[in-house]
């Protein structure tokens, strides 16, 4: 399927989903759907670097939180512009702020992408393991900075008050849901596009044999940096609307380890080699998590996620997609 057609199909599916949710008319569906879609974006973001290039990022929570805190930063400026800007700038700034949510999402993506660039530049020249360890470190460094930065709430946390209703969409959560839906469609389309382009082939050569790729003239460092920036930006964009969703953010919730675990578990369980895997993994796992959280407890839900991750990497290294291929392959042979 060509990309424009595929985009249209995805948009049609998204529109059908939105309209059927509206038809049911229960706001809880939108709250639940938002989380599931957020994980589609996160899993896809992780897979661009992890699945395509083979570089493991443990710092997903950090990149996600950059998006979250960029929103809080600009929201706080919008709340009290007279404390931030000098007199002569105040009038134009009052005109610009408060920034609309789509702009905040783009800004979150830009900041997370920039941090990804800096961090990748420091560590991607080394073996992949060092990059993985450095990403673990990054999340903690960022959390320390946020805890000590009182403008964005520090360790006390920060409140973001979303408007009650919004034109066209009605309740604010529906607006958030549509934004996240579009973001999910965009990230899946982007992942598919990358996979089939020269860029994706370059990524695959890094994953399969970096040394051979380097000696054949593949600009590995540049490609890895591109992947880190793209992946980081998507994480940031997934995080940017989060303060409006949750209403109150503190470092512990923004840097929650469960983001890092889910970002790895979902693609691993779905299958890392194509765009389908992370999407399927995110849809199944996060729906399951929502059910378990409601019916049993959130600690048990995380335990199940961890055990599934371990089980899949040991027993089904190519994820659900791999299992599916094995099954259909065996059937066609017999």
């Amino acid at each position: 399927m060509r990309t424009p057609l595929f985009t249209l199909v995805m948009l049609a599916v998204a529109a059908a989903l939105y309209l059927s949710f509206r038809f049911v008319g229960n706001d809880y569906l939108f709250f639940l759907g938002y989380v599931v879609l957020q994980y589609v974006v996160i899993a896809t973001a992780w897979n661009i670097l992890g699945g395509y290039c083979g570089y493991v990022n443990f710092g997903s929570a950090g990149f996600f939180a950059i998006g979250v805190y960029s929103t809080i930063f600009f929201y706080n400026i919008g709340q009290a512009p007279e404390e931030v800007f000098p007199e002569f700038l105040l009038t134009p700034m009052k005109w610009i702020f408060p920034l609309p949510l789509p702009v905040l999402i783009v800004l979150g993506g830009v900041f997370a992408g920039l941090i990804g660039l800096g961090m990748g530049y420091l560590t991607l020249r080394l073996r992949g393991v060092f990059f993985a360890i450095a990403t673990l470190a990054l999340a903690v460094v960022l959390e320390t900075f946020i805890v000590n930065w009182s403008f964005v709430g520090g360790s006390r946390g920060a409140y973001v008050i979303p408007p009650e209703n919004i034109p066209v969409f009605g309740p604010f959560i529906q607006y958030l849901f549509v934004l996240m839906l579009l973001l999910a469609v965009a990230s899946v389309v982007a992942a598919r596009l990358i996979e089939r382009s020269r860029l994706g082939i370059g990524f695959a050569t890094i994953r399969d044999d970096e040394l051979a790729a380097e000696t054949s003239g593949v600009p590995t460092l540049r490609l890895k940096l591109i992947a880190t920036v793209l992946s980081g930006a998507l994480f940031g964009m997934a995080g940017a609307p989060f303060p409006f969703y949750i209403g109150y953010v503190e470092p512990n919730s923004a840097f929650n380890l469960s983001y890092a675990v889910n970002a790895i578990a979902m693609p691993m369980i779905g299958g890392t080699t194509s765009w389908v895997g992370p999407m399927i993994g995110a849809l199944i796992l996060s729906t399951l998590q929502q059910v378990v959280t409601v019916t049993i407890s959130s600690a048990v839900n995380l335990l199940i996620t961890g055990l599934l991750l371990i089980g899949f990497v040991i027993l089904a290294p190519n994820g659900l997609i791999g299992l599916w291929h094995d099954w259909t392959g065996r059937r066609s042979k017999s």
């Binding site: 903690v140 320390t144 335990l303």
Partner: protein, 289 residues
């Protein structure tokens, strides 16, 4: 007054550093020598702390004695994990990405399992020396820090002696350099790696006991140590135990000075900042090969 503060910060840092050395010793073996990136190590240390806590609460035995008794258990546990790791990843040549995800999953499951079992309350142990301290002039040595520091230095010395003086220890050093050559000498590299990995896991029992003597422990306490242990390990130079000790003491002292003069909320950034700096400037570390 400021000078007293500095002296005491340095002393506290040295004791803290000795403890970090014990925490990192296992990583130095598994990551540095065997190339197994066991990021679950800090999680197993916290597991060690909880074992010390349970037995201490039940029978009132000293946590460090408990750790020594628990050594064989952790050794066997290490052998089990290495068995799974070898069969599923190392043998198939998939040890990089999936191996990392495996250990990350173990770390997470250990933490969440402890939360499910014990909740998110702080746990601590009672020993005769927790409250006391030794004073020499203006210098203060709290026993809560001093006892773990001394035992951990002893453990470190024993490990170093084992690695350099015994046949198996030398074989471990050799397996990190050239497993094939080892095989030609009729030594099974997998067996050597299993022994070494089990040893690294056994150090978790000790480090866990030290941890819970020094401070109350949460299921998530391990996470703070992930960056710290890798910072120490990389700064010291992969696979070098003396380097690890020097780096641990260095990071302990710097952290302690930062805590004293800038407040404890900045302390976690120290080791991570040093880690990033080391990776950027001198990836082979202080005493790297």
């Amino acid at each position: 007054m400021q000078f007293d503060l500095l002296i005491n910060a340095i002393i506290a840092g040295l004791m803290l550093g000795a403890f970090y050395a014990a925490v990192t010793a296992g990583i130095s073996i598994s990551f540095g020598m065997l190339d197994i990136v066991n990021i679950a190590h800090p999680g197993f240390i916290v597991l060690g702390s909880y074992i010390a806590y349970i037995v201490n609460a039940q029978f009132g035995i000293d946590p460090i004695v408990i750790a020594i008794l628990a050594l064989p258990v952790f050794y066997a546990f290490g052998a089990l994990i290495y068995g799974i790791y070898f069969q599923s990843f190392e043998k198939r040549g998939q040890d990089s990405m999936r191996g990392l995800a495996f250990f990350f999953g173990l770390l997470f499951v250990t933490e969440v399992g402890l939360i499910v079992a014990f909740g998110v309350d702080y746990r601590s142990v009672t020993t005769s020396y927790v409250g006391g301290s030794v004073n020499i002039g203006p210098m203060e040595f709290p026993l809560r820090m001093l006892v773990p520091a001394i035992v951990s230095l002893a453990m470190f010395a024993a490990l170093q002696l084992f690695m350099t003086r015994t046949f198996i220890g030398r074989a471990v050093m050799a397996v990190s350099q050239d497993p094939q050559a080892l095989e030609l000498m009729a030594v099974d590299p997998t067996r050597i790696k299993r022994i070494a990995f089990s040893l690294s896991m056994a150090t978790c029992a000790m480090a866990g006991a030290f941890l819970i003597v020094i401070q109350p422990v949460l299921p998530s306490s391990g996470r703070e140590y992930i960056g710290r242990v890798f910072a120490v390990c990389v700064l010291g130079g992969l696979g070098s135990l003396p380097g690890t000790l020097i780096a641990a003491l260095l990071i302990g002292v710097i952290e302690s000075i930062v805590t004293t003069f800038y407040g404890p909320s900045w302390a976690p950034a120290v080791s991570f900042g040093l880690l990033l700096l080391t990776l950027a400037v001198r990836p082979s570390g202080l005493l790297g090969r």
